[in-house]
Amino acid sequence: MCGTCGCHDEHSTVHLHTPDREIAAIEPHTHPHRSIQVEQSILAKNDKIAHQNQHYFADRHIYVLNVVSSPGSGKTTLMTKTIDRLKDRVRVGVIVGDLATDNDAQRLRSTGVPVVQITTGTLCHLEAQMIRQAAEQLPLDNIDLLIIENVGNLVCPAAYDLGENLRIVLLSVTEGEDKPLKYPTMFKSADIAIVNKMDLAAAVEFDRPTALQNLHKLAPQAEIFEVSAKTGLGMEEWCDRLLQSCRSMANLSEECNR
């Protein structure tokens, strides 16, 4: 709206009013409206820090996972069991994001590895800057694998790159076969999709073929693992895959330093 005469000519940035078009008392005038071309991604700041994180961790030969899921899919249990299986072979560190309470952090600490908690309050996701700050509280010289457990949410964390090497999306059989179809942005951004709580599949009449088909069609880029963190089903395969990636990162870093 024009601040001089209050007209609603919103189409031109500079335009002329003549007295016959407007109230007689207003002199002909031009609007000083100007256009500014911005062309900027709103997430550019986060992306830039995420990129810096990537270098920061690569320089220290640390392989980084960003684990996302709905609340209650079993992220903490899966990560706890994964750490138990891997901690004798790689040195693990954890950053865990939660809206409130440090219950998840305490469960992860029971594995004996260093854990830093980020309490996000009302913020529904972790951002790259938070990871950088939290990482400085970890003994990075003694870490090969950094696991970031994101806030339980399948919408917002999808847009925020943290500088991870691998994005893992987790869903459990109790959430239904159509879960990936409801959160396409997240599933399409994942490198690995893990179907958890397979021990409950029969009890909840989980339609495995439909679920796998949905997952594959929606996220053809993602490797799929079916596990039960509780019983150990499929855990060896998943942990081997993770270990392999960790080691290839370590080898690459060594080669770069030669």
Partner: protein, 114 residues
């Protein structure tokens, strides 16, 4: 939902750009939002009204351009706009594509200021 925090970041950029041009009022913001960005335009509009209150953008118009999803099929060496909103099958060969060329944008394109 993260539309409020996205809108706060957008406004921060918009105000900085406006002040850099020695202008004092924002009349219009144009944004480009990708179909696959996870951002809901209605929620963004709602957030816009809330976060602009009491700022130099109060009363401004938010104009949102939706950016369609464009995928690439490596088999056919062509880009296509998927028929289905989320399952990206190449209309020629039926292969599933995971090379997304556009559709994730969350951008502030331009401002109209005075």
């Amino acid at each position: 939902m993260h539309e409020v925090s996205l809108m706060e970041q957008t406004l921060e950029i918009a105000i900085a750009q406006t002040q850099a041009q020695n202008s004092t009022q924002i009349h219009r913001l144009k944004m480009r939002i990708g179909e696959l960005s996870g951002v809901v335009p209605e929620a963004l509009n709602f957030a816009f009204d809330v976060v602009t209150r009491g700022t130099i953008a109060e009363g401004a118009t938010l104009q949102i351009e939706t950016v369609p999803t464009i995928c690439y099929c490596s088999q056919c060496d062509r880009e296509f706009h998927p028929v289905d909103a989320y399952i990206y099958e190449c209309p020629d060969c039926g292969n599933l594509s995971f090379q997304i060329r556009s559709g994730r944008e969350i951008e502030l394109t331009s401002l109209e200021v005075s």
